[in-house]
Assembly symmetry: C2
Homo-oligomer: 250 residues x 2
Amino acid sequence: MEDAQELNHKKDSGQYHIPYYQIPIDKFFQFGLSVDCVVFGYQDGILKILLIKRGAEPFKGQWAIPGDLVYPNEDIDVAVRRILHDLTGLDNLYFEQTKVYGQVDRHPIGRVVTVGYYSLINIENYNPHASAWADSVYWIDVNDVPKLAFDHNLILNNGLKTLRYSVRNRPVGFELLPTKFTIGQLQSLYEGLLNEKYDKANFRKRILSMNMLRELKENQINVPHRPGRLYSFDKEKYDQLKSKGFSFEL
Amino acid sequence: MEDAQELNHKKDSGQYHIPYYQIPIDKFFQFGLSVDCVVFGYQDGILKILLIKRGAEPFKGQWAIPGDLVYPNEDIDVAVRRILHDLTGLDNLYFEQTKVYGQVDRHPIGRVVTVGYYSLINIENYNPHASAWADSVYWIDVNDVPKLAFDHNLILNNGLKTLRYSVRNRPVGFELLPTKFTIGQLQSLYEGLLNEKYDKANFRKRILSMNMLRELKENQINVPHRPGRLYSFDKEKYDQLKSKGFSFEL
DNA sequence: CCAAAAGTGTTCATTCTACACCCATGG
DNA sequence: CCATGGGTGTAGAATGAACACTTTTGG
């Protein structure tokens, strides 16, 4: 989050407040809470984002990222799982909190604070669903994102920054790939995500030297070139390494 | 946040929900919102945390980290600045969002979602204040933290993890030091924070090679050893480097 | 004088980078 | 046969770790 988490030295805006104890406590319990989730997928070398056409007011019919109000008796991560499930039919998706958006006027119908998330999904398993809050769902190239409802363009951009940062410092990129992948596919993913070029020999040595990939006894099939060896991410090995002080880099 | 942001693959807890459209919209606007801030200071090689004795119910009289309800018409970062100002008399403090805590039952008087922050202050400028929500304020050694109100021990520990992570990847450590400091002081800070030992020659070379310190024409005074050259952090230079792709490490 | 921390230079090992080369497949 | 990406080895450069040595202050 090198970029997403800026140094923060801004001055107080000068807003004025009635002292705490002179305001009835009920006044403090009028916030709405929502979650909004930037869902990433990766296909043919292109990073894509799930956008919906909103099925409810406000901003009905407009583009938005998936999200919904949190129920009064619902934990926040349960709400995220609910939304992701309703949207994709998938459970156990990877997701991570990014940032809270709480501008007083960010929502037209009242004070709604929203918690931003990003989620990574393997596009091959994806199964689109409409739902109560989404008329329809589309994968959009990350470079073609239209104007979105609320402050969703901001949330999306911060989600993207966070993803780009996370992917260098934690082994999360694998979530975007099929379970079995070649080193070449992994390299293209990183190159696409970070907009860089790596030497294939060096990339290979680097990633294999981390000892967190399990080499399978299988190769690619039906490719018009020498088929690559398949690997899968070995979470147990990674956790073990991490506990010994190892830290993923690039 | 290598550790603070865990891979998140938990299953849905199985909570059950009445469909969205059958619940009156008012029911969704009954959340309270608060901010809680882990305030770090550094003195004599020891990392310290500002704790308060709560001056209001619930948990009146108990240890807690500084925090307060957000006003219905108040932006969240304005609330953070307000709290830090009331607490320390200082403005323009460094602070950064960590994580949202939204467990349904985390607050005894209702559904209060809190946004966690950490803040860094130069202990020399510190000026303690009591306030509406704090009877008294103390610096506590990070290793002697008592049992705290609410889920504040959790918030504190996550704040500490975040600090330890940030300090390696962004030049935030300087916020804990006086404006003018020696390389030795900087090294001790890092050693204390991260619980490591560095070679002084190598540490010096490394930090100076980053070109983000301004060498002053002043030395330490009144020290019983050769006085060290004073430096200050040059934010302009750092921003310039960052925009050229430089990234702070350790 | 001594203790204590500042500050510098050099050596050796490790890691990174660039690049050349061979391999296996489909068309 | 070719094009395409898979896969390996190596030399030289850059970086990092360890450590010895000199300097300047107060007591």
